[in-house]
Symmetry: D2
Subunit: 308 residues, 4 copies
């Protein structure tokens, strides 16, 4: 296939999944958003991913999602590519979001499987085959089985990767055996970007040939993740390990307050608020940490040397 030969590897590096700063459930924290975007970009990241799970996209009204797309694309103004989550249970709404993103200047769309009805793999492949060509942007698949109840199986990805505008996959399964199977399946497609979601797996995935990470912690300390990616990519093992340990220290303290699976998201927003970057308001069904949890996060940030 001629097309394949001309595809150049790109989409390497750190693409932080930006949290969505909110004042209430349907109102952006506009100054916080502005500060957050600049804070992240100052860390040298290779792109910015909005409206993912970390961005609470499914909990936001379409009106607010459109507003966020416009503001962020406008502010970034081409300094780095902006990726926009367009996952939806309704085909047409995914198209609508992608059209909006393209008009606003986004560089790519990110698509998880529909997450209400669990489809079989042949149906999932057909869904991708119908939807991706309708999206006016390069597209990343987004493997997020804990929320969608569905894996993109390696064979499905292999076949989907033939679509001209499918450029990569972000894997948030946390299952590195699966990630390695994807790598083996796509060994002849260096242009197809394989990014990892959980930041705890960033270093090892890049050491094994992965292309980068969509690391939530890069909202907080973007430079750390960029450095870890670069060290792993260059095979500088002692440095990569040192930065990995630092990532684990954040993960093991900021994201583990309380006992719910939402601790990661609440801890991250709480930390950003403690650093004075943006509000920690969360859209339903979540609520932000109350005082006792906030104190735990504050103490963790202090121990990590992240509080000025």
């Amino acid at each position: 296939m001629a097309g394949k030969k001309t595809r150049k590897p790109q989409w390497r590096g750190i693409f932080p999944p930006m949290v969505t700063p909110l004042l209430d459930r349907d109102r952006l924290d506009a100054p916080g958003l502005e500060r957050l975007v600049e804070h992240i970009l100052a860390g040298g990241v290779q792109g910015l991913f909005i409206l993912g799970s970390t961005g609470e996209a499914p909990s936001l009204s379409y009106r607010l999602r459109h507003q966020l797309i416009e503001r962020v694309c406008g502010q970034v103004a081409g300094r780095v590519p902006v990726l926009v989550g367009v996952t939806d249970t309704a085909f047409v709404e995914s198209v609508n979001l992608a059209v909006k993103a393209e008009q606003a200047g986004a560089a790519a769309a990110v698509l998880a499987s529909p997450y209400y009805f669990p489809a079989g793999q042949p149906e999932l492949l057909e869904y991708i085959g119908h939807l991706v060509p309708e999206l006016p942007l390069p597209v990343f698949l987004y493997n997020m089985p804990s929320y969608t109840k569905l894996f993109f199986e390696p064979d499905t990805v292999r076949q989907a990767a033939e679509l001209p505008n499918l450029v990569g996959l972000k894997d948030s399964s946390g299952n590195m055996s699966y990630f390695h199977r994807l790598q083996a399946c796509l060994a002849d497609r260096p242009d197809f970007a394989l990014l990892v979601g959980p930041e705890e797996l960033l270093v090892e995935s890049v050491l094994s040939g992965g292309h980068g990470g969509v690391c939530g912690g890069a909202n907080l300390c973007p430079r750390l993740y960029v450095d870890a990616w670069a060290a792993a990519r260059a095979g500088r093992l002692p440095r990569a390990r040192e930065l990995h340990d630092r990532i684990m220290a954040i993960s093991g303290s900021v994201y583990t307050v309380g006992r719910h699976s939402s601790s990661y998201l609440k801890g991250l927003k709480c930390a950003l608020s403690l650093l004075g970057i943006c509000s920690d308001f969360m859209a339903e069904p979540f609520h932000h940490f109350r005082a006792p949890e906030r104190e735990q996060v504050r103490a963790a940030l202090a121990r990590l040397g992240l509080l000025k």
Copy 2:
């Protein structure tokens, strides 16, 4: 509480979860819809529930959902109450749907938990406490853990039931022990309607004091389910068992072609199409049965005496 005393038991009977007849992913099968509504109402049902799981609501665009609400409410014109699914991952979109439903003349809204992020029970209760008062209609909770990853625990329901416009719960968990725990929890609230989802459990739930069913098969044979409900309610055991066996015969043949969890929905739409009622087109991520499965459904309908 004075309010409680004046609440009268209602919402008893069969409220079919209507399939959504489609010509393609974003276009209603308008004549099929009209025929389907009349077919169901002719069966003597006590209400009509649109935009539930059987109605493929999460797979439909908001534009089409609004159109469906208008058309169905217009056609039913008060002959029976229309219940409208308003479940959404975004709070504001649920409110929007309920406002639309109220304006169109719907009688109630039906609300499952948000289904992307799994909330804890305290968060779920808070979510209900914030959202239900904003909905301009009586509200049913909709327990659907296989799709939402979340149970409405009995304590949560007990507390939520204090909200003035929360009038009942539809349980599609398939777990009758849970249903009985709900009944025990709400023994002093005969006005709070407990409806069961899976039609295989209709008779036993009504025999145990449940108030009715949201039975998918009532798209096909509405009278059968109304009769089964009435027999069970009256304690006419031999008749109730006979009708239960008939329901099991449908369930065990029409809904079990193929091996996916979507067999129920595909079989039901296929059967409606074979009976000449409406199109069997399905919204992504599903597709309708191809010829071999269609023949199996045809044979099942013939054995059941449902093909003219």
Copy 3:
């Protein structure tokens, strides 16, 4: 098949899954055991099932299991049939247990699927086909998916039911739709006994034609469950409902102290100890309730009028 015609329906009624009274992890509470057996038999039960999940069988040494089989069969001395759990991950150990049970005078063996490796249905059917003929007793299958990770699918049961010494199935899935599918599958086999595990489902399963129950609460109040079974079997609906409510009152209080799935077992043993019947010691990995939980169980028993 000639054999089928001569099989007479039997195995109707209540077969309590007896708890195993222990003094420590490898020592029977012999006087407690003796009292418990008499207490249960005095309730008019149709049989006694030892070494099931409620009997903590997998947690007991083989030596102690053998001892229990001997003692109980000896004490019961043919007054009712004794059923013995022979489930094991190792084929040969299941045979050994069944041989021991047969020698001691047991009337039937009860067999769940192997519970470490999850087999597919064809392998499960083959396993049954190999093992059941080697067991020198009539055999019940025992569907317990929450512990074994595996369902006996209706087709598998239908085929297995051809084995001459397979006489029934105990379903502890809690899924009444599944139970009804089994009933439909085996409609021409009234000799094949379908018993239900969870006592919350006893009345409805018998109303729908089920043959009885393996109710844990019958360790505590055997007569209640026998009466509920008889009322449901006779179609005496008001009486059956009243007894069902009583069962739910026990289930909703005695089995729900604490938040673990082991609450049922701990609550039951604790209640038996509070009634002076036997020790509440539990084999690892569980431990008996400490004082605060014990007080909650005591209060529940008092409210239920079960404490003298």
Copy 4:
């Protein structure tokens, strides 16, 4: 604690989980066993682990397990340490197995959580606290949640690690974030060995500081896994990646014939039989591959250059 200071790091390297060569369900393939042990030892492994999941331990009679312990310990005769799986649902049987292993000359016992009843973490910790001191050998915990339904949470491991004879943990969860949390938790305990189960994760776990692997493929090509471990340990990244790719090539072909979770085990035994090392008979509930699957495995071995 003085004891801690004197503990020397050991248990580094590759400890193959040996398959159990069988002629039928209760008979060892004695010559095959002998060949297999020598084949593995010739690869330079650091130890040998018998009676794990790959060894089908739960499916074997106790008699046969004892026989296997004796034969293997006798044949190895101290050339490398032999680790013996003693996991059981019954406390006493675990002790019995460990006593037998110690008498035969085994070097360590390996203990997963009881796998029928799911315990809570406090109960699991108490269980370890009671059982491990009764085992007359150094003990490894074995985290195998897909079969046991239970994780050893990092806090539980941290506390358990205080037991004098608890020397390490084998993690077969496949979740590297969990593995890294364990590493962080035990950063001050370099003597506590952290081994990884899935061979697809061997290289990355060792690059991150893990101590070795319990790799099923080392039954087949022991040298490959020893080399991969050594390269990763030495930080020779290009070499480690090359060997990792080779491991993935085996994993992606030999272990993926058929669609069941048992494909790994069946493929591995089938491959050993095709190489003339031992029988591929499997204990119930599994059966060995039939001719078509066998041909697929043969073709995979040929492609991999493993068939002479």
